[in-house]
């Protein structure tokens, strides 16, 4: 609680962190109220599939029917970006949660027991970290087939090892504390010591750091969808909407920016979403890292 107050105090002093928080909250509201902001048309089954207005290829400019216009294939851009916010949160939250669980289990086992178990787990993380992340994620996504689940699994596969390593390092540091030995001394089991003493004393900063990686996770997912590897066609996803726009960056001879909305609008959504998390992350990192805070 004292830590929380300390955090809040420093947080309020920094205008950038407030800006980050506001951006993230606005996006959260958009995600929550998506069915009200952009209602699913009657008779449309899956709300995550963007409704189409015909099948003409050429994008149509903003109009009263489609306030952000339509992109290639007449997908409604407004509906796509609003429901895409839900997709982004879904991917970000689930991936980070899964990564944390895997990282916590493997990292704490490795750090607490040490020895051969530690060696094996760390060599496995080495193997996963031996690939440029996007390349491994691409291979995993196509191996599993195009779906939002594949994208999430692919990103979990490339993210968990670094978490396992950081958590292991923190646990190693905590393990040497006297209270751990005391707990073992009075006969506590390994599981009890890990759950009751080691984890609560080492993961508090990791939780915050992890939640702030949501921006980076969403960016990777969007990149996969942009490359045409992620979600199925027509799924409400920012990356895919930019993929739809790539054939329309050069306008008509009379108006070179004729299709500006197709690329600009979904791009701004990704940009602000990621920036919101980064601003929040930056300020919290400064506060949490005491070496930086003193400056």
């Amino acid at each position: 609680m004292k830590r929380f107050k300390f955090l809040l105090y420093h947080f309020k002093k920094n205008p950038l962190s407030i800006a980050g928080l506001v951006i993230v909250v606005v996006f959260a509201l958009i995600a929550i109220f998506a069915p009200i902001i952009a209602p699913t048309p009657d008779g449309h089954h899956d709300p995550y599939m963007i409704p189409r207005d015909g099948y003409v290829s050429t994008p149509q400019p903003p109009s009263s029917d489609h306030i952000f216009g339509t992109t290639q294939g007449q997908y409604d851009i407004f509906y796509g970006v609003i429901w895409g916010t839900r997709t982004a949160f879904q991917i970000g939250l689930l991936v980070i949660a899964a990564t944390l669980v895997i990282g916590l289990v493997l990292g704490s086992v490795a750090g607490y027991f040490g020895g051969i178990i530690d060696e094996i787990i760390m060599r496995i993380t080495d193997i996963f970290l031996a690939f440029p992340p996007l390349i491994l994620a691409m291979a995993v996504t196509i191996a599993l087939g195009a779906s939002i689940e594949s994208v999430m699994i692919a990103i979990i596969v490339v993210t968990w090892p670094s978490y396992a390593r950081v958590i292991r390092g923190d646990i190693l540091a905590v393990r040497e504390e006297d209270y751990i030995e005391a707990s073992r001394g009075v006969g506590a089991s390994h599981l009890w010591v890990i759950l009751k003493h080691v984890i609560p004393n080492s993961i508090y900063p990791i939780f915050i750091m992890a939640s702030l990686d949501i921006g980076a996770v969403v960016l990777t997912a969007a990149a996969l969808s942009f490359l045409g590897l992620g979600v199925p066609e027509g799924y409400a996803d920012w990356g895919q909407m930019i993929n739809f726009a790539r054939n329309w960056i050069v306008g008509t001879p009379t108006n070179t920016f004729a299709y500006w909305f197709t690329v600009t609008i979904p791009g701004l959504f990704i940009f602000f979403f990621v920036m919101g998390w980064n601003l929040l992350g930056d300020s919290l990192r400064d506060i949490l890292d005491p070496r930086l805070a003193r400056r």
Binding site: A130, P132, L134, M138, L227, I249
Partner: protein, 348 residues
């Protein structure tokens, strides 16, 4: 620890990692049906009509461990399979597309490193001044930019609005004809360098014109990354006692910043060069796919969307091994120049 024994230890550690990398790739391969897996053993387009024969010949229905060693044998003999997207063997494709990507990296890497270090130094030296605020804001924007969107916006402006100023692809059609003609010798396959060597300035100019936007796209995010790292490292360095000493003995501020502070602050930046390598490979796939710039990244993208299993796994294996070796070289250089690293006995 002696440098020699450190070196031996690191080389020994390399074996299980490389072994594990092949197991991971092989594991991914098992998620594909046999007829797709067979592509990894094809060496000649004529074999494509007899996929069943290949499945029989390489025992793709046999127990996994047997298959693994058959495959590993193939990999060691340099056969990574057939890339159906470009109609050549995967090994040939890698060597064919490597120069284009190398050309991109040759321009982007120095810009990223020098730009990032310079901005980071400036920002830290003028902490909380206007320069610092502007470059920090720039870094946050750069760090949050989706590369793929940024590239498209650049194209929209510099190819669409300023018609054809900086076009996509590697060369214009007329210049491409010159490059592929008999009189033009392709010494390195790096277009701008071959242009200079052939004394053909139109080629040099055209190659540069095509590479400007990809280089900017690839650099912006990474400059932001290096700049942030350099800034905080520089601030730490500036708070040290030797800076106070240097200032106390009356050295000019420029010398203090550039010699005493910056040289020490650059160490953490060097240690992330392995990470930078991975970031550039990631960025290359996205950048080359935006600009239709036919290099390794473009090929990896085309093969991935066409489910060309042998190519994408071959590329993953290639980039994985290259990444492991890059990290090894970085660590060795670091240990060579900073004895503290190896005195610890292990690297964490």
């Amino acid at each position: 620890m002696e440098f020699r024994s450190y070196l031996i230890r690191r080389l020994l550690l390399l074996i299980p990692v490389l072994f594990g990398v092949t197991i991971l790739i092989f594991g991914l391969l098992q998620l594909f049906p046999a007829y797709q897996r067979a592509m990894l053993y094809v060496t000649d387009p004529r074999q494509l009509n007899n996929i069943d024969e290949i499945i029989q010949m390489y025992g793709l229905n046999e127990p996994l461990w047997k298959q693994y060693f058959t495959w590993l044998g193939q990999v060691f003999s340099g056969n990574l399979g057939w890339s159906k997207v470009v109609g050549m063997s995967v090994t040939d494709a890698i060597f064919n597309f490597l120069p284009a990507t190398l050309e991109l990296a040759i321009f982007a890497t120095p810009i990223i490193i020098i730009g990032g270090i310079w901005l980071g130094t400036k920002s830290a030296a003028h902490k909380d001044g206007p320069v610092d605020h502007i470059s920090r804001a720039g870094a946050i924007v750069g760090w949050s930019l989706p590369t793929f969107w940024f590239g498209l916006v650049l194209l929209m402006i510099f190819y669409g609005y300023f018609t054809g100023l900086f076009p996509p692809e590697r060369l214009s059609t007329d210049i491409s004809v010159i490059v592929h003609s008999g009189e033009f010798t392709r010494y390195t396959k790096l277009n701008f360098l071959d242009g200079i060597l052939n004394w053909e300035w139109s080629v040099v100019f055209d190659a540069l014109r095509h590479i400007v936007l990809p280089v900017i796209t690839l650099s912006v995010v990474n400059i932001a990354f290096i700049m942030r790292l350099m800034r905080s490292s520089m601030l730490e360095s500036l708070g040290r006692g030797y800076i106070l000493t240097a200032r106390a003995k009356g050295l000019p501020e420029k010398t203090v910043i550039n010699k005493h502070a910056r040289r020490n602050a650059m160490i953490p930046v060097l240690t992330v060069s392995g990470y930078l390598f991975a970031a550039i490979v990631n960025g290359v796939v996205i950048t080359e796919s935006i600009f239709n710039y036919k290099g390794l990244g473009w090929w990896a993208w085309r093969t991935a969307i066409n489910l060309d299993v042998s190519s994408i796994l071959g590329f993953a294996l290639f980039s994985g091994v290259l990444f492991v070796l890059t990290n090894l070289v970085v660590d060795l250089l670091y240990a060579k120049f900073d004895p503290r690293v190896r005195l610890g006995g292990s690297i964490k």
